[in-house]
Symmetry: C2
Subunit: 388 residues, 2 copies
Amino acid sequence: MDRKTVTDSTDDGFAEVVTLGQDSPLRLDSGDSIGPFQVAYKCWGKLNDDRSNAVLVCHALTGDQYVRGINPITGKKGWWQNMVGPGRPVDTGRYFVICINVLGSCAGTTGPASPDPETGRPYGLTFPVITIGDMVRAQAMLLDHLGIESLFSVIGGSMGGMQALQWAVDYPDRVKTVIAIATTWRHSAQNIAFHEVGRQAIMADANWDHGRYYDNGGARPHAGLAVARMAAHITYMSERGLTSRFGRSLQDRDRVAFGFDADFQIESYLRHQGISFVDRFDANSYLYITRAMDYYDLGSPYGGILAKAFQGTTTRFCVLSFTSDWLYTTGESRHIVRALNAARARVSYADIDMDKGHDSFLLDCPEMFTIIRGFLSSEADSIGGFQS
Amino acid sequence: MDRKTVTDSTDDGFAEVVTLGQDSPLRLDSGDSIGPFQVAYKCWGKLNDDRSNAVLVCHALTGDQYVRGINPITGKKGWWQNMVGPGRPVDTGRYFVICINVLGSCAGTTGPASPDPETGRPYGLTFPVITIGDMVRAQAMLLDHLGIESLFSVIGGSMGGMQALQWAVDYPDRVKTVIAIATTWRHSAQNIAFHEVGRQAIMADANWDHGRYYDNGGARPHAGLAVARMAAHITYMSERGLTSRFGRSLQDRDRVAFGFDADFQIESYLRHQGISFVDRFDANSYLYITRAMDYYDLGSPYGGILAKAFQGTTTRFCVLSFTSDWLYTTGESRHIVRALNAARARVSYADIDMDKGHDSFLLDCPEMFTIIRGFLSSEADSIGGFQS
């Protein structure tokens, strides 16, 4: 990376796409490999002279590298505007923050919608099936390319938390701290079941055409993808949150309409979630990334004993869960904490009382902000405070 | 009803379809009306001389009147074989048991797939939108037709429980006892959300064709209906039940296949649930019945105060919930019980510790069987025991 560019980056950040794997392709967990491939990232703040203040933010299933600032795809603000920025818990005045669009996604990093270099045409289902481990290895390749050897922290919620934990397991020497929020150590049967419903909804859409819809003159599996998003979105909110926000309130009416239009506000809200999603996300990427999450099982290479995955780690961990998260429950986080304790890792844990369900990690949550700010600051202070 | 037929009915029961509403149509909650329409039912046991031993069993969303014996549509055993029969908790040696396919369904009672008498062609979306109250009024019309004035009990789980409670509210003088299992007093935002996903999946299927698929030369919205069923099925099982039954077990493999075929057993199981469902259920019926459930709010006509719905009731209630049911939770049943208490109704309540989720009411559950057997027997004994 051009050091000057980083130094010069403003609050708006600096976005870039680089090509990796030209000479030696990325080996994937499937045994397949991929290369060359593109990696899109965005960064904020200033990398200090000894390159010790880099914080990698990992995004969730449908997220992207646009953590803060205007997202050029949606025209909306970044997804973690309140967490990352000057004076925010992940303080871009102190840390150099980077977020990398994951492999298989569709915001600049190579995924199924990208052209296969061998054919010049979109991969579609010829794109290799990837894992969370593959995503992390692609990120490590980018950091190598940028000359960032060590990460002060890897932070993520949901699938971002899976990557953060994977970083700690696969690159223990490169990661000083990990903050894993609203996440799990392996996808449960229920987690897989919800993803499978979404995938089946996409594949049931006649426009999906076995993933070859890119050339169909504009006809895309939008209906199926919208249904997938709707089903997933229910899992991101708590029953109590839905009840307090929507309850049985009707749409601009004082009685039900006795029809199949959106009668209840929750229906209208869900439909909006589905419809607005299809404009910003590729259906095949949804298949690939949900598959990667389903395959995620951090204990599997260690005979199912998660503690062994963390054996000997010197990384310091912060694990956060939300009481109302029924997608990746408090119980899953506690399992992670117990494994870390068994591995004698240093770990802080909080189960935050918040009624907004899984998506709490994306919302204004003062307790989460306070904990993360304190965790990072105390660790930064303990190693000298990043004087540049 | 031909009394001799009832007297002669064996354990296999007696199935019949009658036409109602020729002279005076059924008035619906929407303000619309329907008639003539057909009602299909099945009954077991013998109606006693004073016609006081009739038990109405109400079926759930995708259920039918084939409570026991071979279901002619599926070729499988009835859905409540262990609950209803000679010597079973709902003892057909003592009670005359009748189950009626609900209005809007597709097992013989008129629904959107039935011919509209005015056109001779399937209703499709010209079928009127119905409510749980409408279903119950149609059932009452059939019982009038059969000369059954009073019901010893109305019993149902899930949507069947909604009907049972509706019976108690709308016909308090006709119902001696009500057994409401794994049910609710109103559909919550989350309940509506899951149904809306199912409906959107059906309507997203190109074969749905705005509900006019009956004439499409065999092309039906099977893919969408299967997705709807899969999404719903997840809500019928508990996270713990899914984990203990499937966990992350793979399909006949020792490693994941890095593809989109069913890798995990839970995927294969869900796909089977979806695929087998479409052979026995009409997609439009699914739209109409889920809509009726979403509209269900027993407190609504009483200013939201559920107790008022039961004011002055002499019906005796038995409310049962399952600890692992996250579709219609213990909390919902407790709300019903509190309202019944406030209305000074006689009510028994049990929250049964079972880890199989909502579908527990369909499974072998000795505690449920014991409670229901005892509840019915004690009430039957108290009124003289149905000596014929």
